[in-house]
């Protein structure tokens, strides 16, 4: 084991038997995959049966910690929840920030892996290597936050709780897991937890974790904290991510009415610059964070909720809704019910277009109708009426509805697109298409390249490929250390800076070159998991709408992304990633990145190389 940062073991919890055992994790694995999303990927290769239904009790649900958790480094109180997604059938890893990260790690484990299912709706207490399963009783049906409050009141404030809401209990395929008001949001992890009849998991700190160089870590933490107060994070402090909305509208990258437009005329009614003064009531921080990006808004009936760009984009412009009260209420309701706001908004927007085209008989569900939006959210969480179809996500729903409705279902691999228009951000278009998790802005931050001014964002080409790879690699490291991406702007030399932090905590003599290789390894390990689960190159693609319909910019230019251009970028991405034209890693790449070991556990050798 390294001198610091890890316990070198994962707790394997069998909910069928109510038993648990600690399984060692070799130091070489920790160094190769770091933690968080990276280590979670390795654990999925190890513990997830190939080809399993994500909602089968045998499918694992993992809470994976990282070496920086428990240190005073700002934004490090984060963890990854990893599973096979019931929405995509592929790997998903959602990150969240909260005290759960610290308490979970200080159970004495680098990961907690749940398999099996409880006999009845229950919650699970994890105390060192011991577990206890208790009936959920009247916790069932409660919002996650209410369940969390009750459980901490009952068991004591030292316990930290991750819980699901009603949507997770109903196996909505984009249900979330929540804690401290934060959410592991994307990919339907709440449905996986619900399929295990597990309403909540409780952890409490019972040990400490060492750092190799405590004085060095403290000094680095002070420095990082100071830098976190600078201009690079001003946006997050001042307005939060909602600051994106009007800026994106100005540059035609605000997805509107199910991606039929990239500008929303009524956007000012939702812009933070316009409504913050009247509606914002507080600013909060995640655990161990000095940025403070959470901006709390007051909605109808005085109810307070955290507002983010992705909530507002998905439940506002994407559905054509400009009523700020309604968007705040919809966002709050998604949080209460345990729904991923992006997939909720994306699926409802798709349904609104279906209604408009006469493909779904639900005349009440119209673009711009705030009450219809709120009704649809309730029906989805309860799986009632049309909601039962929409609870499957836009891809599955479009397959049921047919009539070419898949052409405008805005997803990649089943995951609904975030609020970054791919036709006007063409490095992002590539990033969305090839990412293992599906259409996702956190695993691929290629929009950074598009908005840097370094290339023409409307003319995807080789520069865009380089930008997409670089941002994907950086995300792989940040998601594994784990550090918040809102901190990225403070690192002048990211890989050397991150290597230094890892060295101070673990004592490993790791440098930027090694960390860059680690990033590539993690990106491809995710791809290899998907390959094992049946991935083919056709999945690295965008919906037809983005390749057949152009957008007109205010400048007069046309933003068009052709199939041929996307294919050229994907070919180049594969070459630069060391993949065959089929998207499968070459033998040389497997060897260089020391990924052959994954083949031995998965019998996918016939498909690889």
């Amino acid at each position: 084991m390294p001198p610091g940062g890890y316990f070198g073991k994962a707790l394997l919890v069998d909910l069928n038997t109510g038993s648990a055992e600690a399984a060692p994790i070799d130091e070489s694995v920790l160094r190769s995959y770091v933690g968080g999303a990276g280590l979670g990927t390795w654990l999925m290769h190890e513990h997830c049966p190939a080809g399993i239904d994500p909602l089968d009790p045998r499918a694992p649900l993992m809470f994976v910690f990282s070496p920086l958790v428990g240190t005073p480094l700002t934004t490090s109180a984060k963890f990854a929840v990893v599973a096979k997604s019931p929405l995509t059938g592929r790997l998903t890893d959602a990150l969240a920030s909260s005290h759960f990260a610290i308490a979970g790690k200080l159970t004495g484990h680098d990961a907690i892996v749940l398999t099996g299912a409880c006999e009845e709706p229950s919650y699970v207490l994890i105390d060192r290597d011991e577990i206890r399963i208790e009936p959920a009783g009247d916790l069932c049906g409660l919002p996650a936050a209410d369940a969390e409050a009750r459980l901490r009141e009952q068991h004591g404030p030292a316990w930290r709780v991750a819980a699901i809401g009603p949507a997770g209990e109903k196996a909505v395929r984009y249900a979330t897991i929540s804690h401290d008001g934060r959410h592991a949001g994307r990919g339907g992890l709440g449905a996986v937890m619900g399929s295990k009849l597990c309403k909540a998991i409780l952890v409490r700190p019972r040990t400490k974790v060492a750092s190799a160089d405590p004085a060095g870590v403290l000094a680095a933490a002070k420095d990082l904290r100071t830098r976190s107060f600078g201009a690079a994070t001003a946006k997050y402090r001042n307005l939060g991510t909602m600051a994106n909305l009007l800026a994106f509208n100005a540059i035609s990258t605000l997805p509107t009415r199910n991606f039929t437009a990239a500008r929303f005329d009524e956007a000012p009614a939702l812009g933070a610059e316009e409504i913050a003064e009247l509606r914002q009531v507080a600013r909060n921080s995640c655990a161990s964070c000095s940025i403070g990006c959470e901006h709390i808004y007051r909605g109808p009936n005085g109810k307070k909720t955290r507002m983010e760009y992705e909530n507002v984009f998905a439940l506002g412009p994407l559905c054509g809704v400009s009523d700020a009260d309604a968007v705040i209420a919809a966002s709050a309701r998604c949080d209460e019910l345990g729904l991923d706001t992006i997939s909720t908004g994306g699926t409802i927007a798709w349904a609104m277009e279906c209604v408009e085209k006469g493909l779904i008989d639900a005349p009440w569900l119209r673009f711009g109708d705030a009450q219809a939006l709120l009704r649809a959210i309730e029906e989805i969480a309860a799986r009632q009426g049309l909601g039962d179809l929409l609870a499957e996500g836009s891809r599955a729903a479009s397959q049921t509805v047919g009539n070419d409705s898949d052409k405008f279902a805005a997803h990649v691999k089943g995951l609904e697109l975030p609020g970054y228009e791919p036709r006007t951000l063409q490095a992002m278009a590539l990033g969305l298409a090839v990412n293992a998790r599906g259409a996702d802005h956190n695993r691929s931050g290629a929009y950074e390249a598009d908005l840097s001014g370094a290339h023409d964002r409307l003319q995807g080409g080789e520069e865009h490929v380089v930008g997409a790879i670089e941002t994907e690699d950086r995300a792989a490291v940040m998601d594994s250390l784990i550090l918040c991406k809102f901190l990225r702007g403070v690192f002048a030399e990211p890989f050397p800076d991150w290597a230094n932090l890892l060295q101070l905590v673990t004592g490993w003599e790791v440098d930027a070159t090694e960390l860059a290789t680690t990033a590539r390894r993690i990106v491809l390990a995710k791809r290899m998991f998907n390959l094992r689960e049946g991935w083919t190159r056709e999945e690295d693609w965008l919906p037809d709408r983005f390749l057949s319909e152009s957008l007109k910019l205010e400048s007069g230019r046309t933003a068009a992304l052709t199939a041929s251009r996307l294919e050229t970028m994907i070919d180049s991405y594969y070459r630069n990633r060391g993949l065959e034209p089929t998207g499968v890693p070459t033998p040389d790449t497997l060897s260089e990145l020391e990924l052959e070991g994954l083949l031995e556990t998965e019998q996918i050798g016939a498909n690889v190389g």
Partner: protein
């Protein structure tokens, strides 16, 4: 504009000006940087080619602007035109051709002239102030062979080309029929070229074009009254200065909702809108 390119002829002798026009200072930039930036906006994503004299030293240009050298110096515009068209090759069907001494050129003028190259037309030739404007005109790229034939015969005046091609003449009324151009350049100053130092001094003293500046996110919060304001600015740098903003690693600008840049030298023209926003677009 799809399938269009631009050529800027920078190799003239500038004998009356007394110094190379291409390098003349223009409000923190140069004439050539300004004119290439303006035509680039009009033909984007098409190529922009600067034709220089053999051995000529040029001021700094924006990334992506190509430079080719004339084979022979002092042979007139057809020589440069041929070099520019040859450099474009099959990358565009039509090209706007400009001299380097037109700082008041507006992209709307370029688009208007290029738009006049209908099927069957080889050259769109403006006539402003009673003069034909062959260096503010649009040409089909495949005229390169005809031009080379004229050069081989030492017939170096543009008029010889117009005699043997289909030319669409664009009078002032024709040009101003375009509502956008009529609004943004009603006096057709786009063709005003600078031949002598006095021309340069007069033009340089003109008030800067009126630009709309917008601020977003944290940049909008310090003074809500300045979220949208009008300033005079010849370049992005001047617009940032007028707005009291610094184009550092934390701030980017979008020009007319399109090009994202931090380049202070990006030229601005009347009617432009510049949006300043924070560089980190994480959400």
């Amino acid at each position: 504009m799809d399938d269009a390119a631009a050529i800027v002829l920078a190799g003239g002798r500038s004998s009356r000006m007394g110094s190379p026009k291409a390098a003349l200072e223009w409000h923190g930039s140069t004439l050539l940087r300004r004119v290439t930036g303006i035509v680039a906006r009009a033909v984007s994503p098409g190529p922009v080619v600067v034709v220089s004299a053999p051995g000529q030293s040029l001021p700094a240009l924006a990334p992506g602007i190509e430079v080719v050298a004339d084979e022979r110096e002092g042979r007139g515009p057809l020589q440069g035109l041929a070099a520019g068209l040859a450099a474009i090759g099959d990358r565009a069907a039509v090209a706007y051709v400009s001299s380097t001494d037109v700082p008041l050129l507006h992209p709307a003028f370029v688009r208007r002239v290029l738009g006049a190259l209908d099927d069957g037309v080889d050259v769109a030739l403006p006539e402003v102030g009673g003069y034909r404007q062959p260096l503010s005109a649009a040409y089909r790229v495949d005229l390169v062979n005809a031009i080379n034939t004229l050069i081989a015969a030492d017939r170096m005046r543009p008029a010889f080309l117009f005699e043997r091609t289909t030319v669409r003449h664009l009078g002032e009324t024709d040009l101003l029929h375009d509502a956008t151009l009529a609004r943004l350049d009603p006096k057709l100053s786009s063709v005003s070229n600078l031949n002598e130092p006095a021309d340069y001094e007069r033009a340089h003293a003109l008030p800067a074009p009126e630009i709309t500046v917008e601020r977003f996110g944290p940049l909008a919060m310090a003074d809500p009254a300045k979220r949208r304001q009008t300033v005079g600015a010849w370049s992005l740098g001047e617009a940032a200065d007028a707005a009291g903003l610094t184009l550092d690693e934390h701030v980017v600008a979008a020009l007319n909702g399109d090009q994202i840049t931090r380049d202070r030298h990006v030229p601005l023209v009347a009617g432009d809108t510049v949006a300043f926003m924070v560089a980190d677009a994480g959400g």
